[in-house]
Amino acid sequence: MPRDFLKGVKQKYDVIVIGSGLAGLTSANILGRAGYDVLLLEQHYKLGGMATWFKRPKGHIFDVSLHGFPYGMMKSCRRYWCQEIADRIVPLRGVLFDNPQFTLKTTYDRESFTELLQSKFGVEAATIREFFDTARGMNFYDDQQLTTKELFERFFPGRNDITRLLMEPITYANGSTLEDPAITYGIVFSNFMSKGVYTFQGGTDLMIGLMKDELEKNGVDIRIKSPVDKISTENGRVKSVHVGDREIECRSVVSNANLLTTIFKMVGEEQFDKDFVEDAKAVRVNNSSTQVYMALGPDDHLDRDTGDLLFTSTAENFETDLLLSRDVTSRTFSVYYPDTRPHDKRQRHLIVSSTNARWEDWADLDDEAYEASKQDLIETTIDALDKYVPNARERVIFSEAATPRTFYHYTRHHHGASFGTKFEGLPVSQALPTQISGLFHAGSVGIIMSGWLGAINYGVIVSNEVDQLLMK
């Protein structure tokens, strides 16, 4: 008989959280801590969603999305998780840009960028100050007509090189492009510029492990390998959640599944107003990604000067289309030094190359073409790495690739989306409880609620609403 992953689950809960990405985990923790009966269901065998890692033979542990997040993560972890997690958040100081327009190194904060924009790009101090203040003053309810491209054009007309400097890291962080609303850029860029880029020392596995301990301490029931098939409603209210042939009753649901999956697959469009369904159908999911994971040998050493995050490109100019193209010209290398996992005796250097990608470019390849494309991605990436890690081909002892299909497989996100939805997803996500009482969504939406910090904070915002409803 197959193992019953739902063994011991109660008949009824105050809250069922579907999905254990950082938004789902955080919601479950806050509501569990507030004293509610909470059940957390995850379809995969691991918690964390896109905040994940994987192990390979010979002791390699690869992090998928660990480098990096803004300083705000420290505060959010302290407040919504625990001091132990917050204490392990450390800065990444080596951010490198290398492309045909410029090569430079920065600590990626306002001070460093101000200095660079003045000395290397010849921009007046007043213009730089005004740009930073404008970005910092942006709110998500501000004018959405202005695009990021127009924002850059206003302050730095005709300067494609400055556009590249300002945009490349944010595209890596949340998949946004020059065509997205400027407010999404301003909010995320300002978060990073306040104090630079940070990471979690100990690795994603340790962080998710500590979060799991905290959830259990707060009385949350956690079940893995439990995919939700359906959310049932009755008289406009959430009633229960179905996993296989089990029906579990609940007063509210926080879905950390993809927004469109929640609406169209789990609930069903007939349960919503026509206008809402129209709005939901118009929501575009963000792009997906490809990644190449590379490990150096156990006795190899990489100088710290190599940098932590390397934004590299061979394209002459910066354009959104080039960033997504199968003909890869831009790669972000995240370098994981041995101190990523100080407790690990194997002093391993690992490099993960990330490039944004389109689902359509990978979805329909037959098996043979798919494998060949993956291999080509690995080979060209190792070639590109050679400039930063000399003799990369001899030094890389293990490599593997992930594609939009890989991301779909593990997350079940529509089209393998690795950054949630475009901006219009946020109002749809927020309107869900006005359609069905007790039904909430928390996850990467609207670009600003994306990334580790965005996801955690959105989990908090939604928990506040759940608490408000349940306390009535």
């Binding site: 705000g72 904070n457 908090v460 915002i461 506040n464 608490d467 408000q468 306390m471």
Partner: protein
């Protein structure tokens, strides 16, 4: 609770939210944001703490009332008047 007790309750919440801030010189008439580093998540935390500690609901459309100590206390007065002092 009296307005003075409500004020003390808010100070207690602010101390947990912004442990590094010195609140002894807080000007009640001035906006919090002009005197200390508070972002939108911090305001949300104030709302959540009020609910947790005093079961007071502050709906989203009323968040604007929390800009300064003075406006916060006058907004909460009718909601918290019947609560016993701690």
């Amino acid at each position: 609770m009296t307005p003075a007790e409500i004020r003390a309750a808010i100070i207690e919440i602010l101390e947990t939210i912004a442990p590094d801030e010195d609140l002894s010189n807080l000007d009640d008439a001035k906006e919090f944001r002009d005197q200390m580093e508070l972002d939108s998540m911090d305001f949300l935390d104030i709302v959540m703490e009020l609910r947790k500690r005093y079961r007071v609901q502050v709906p989203e459309e009323d968040y604007a009332n929390l800009v300064s100590m003075q406006s916060t206390v006058s907004y909460l007065e009718p909601k918290m008047a019947d609560l016993p002092a701690e």
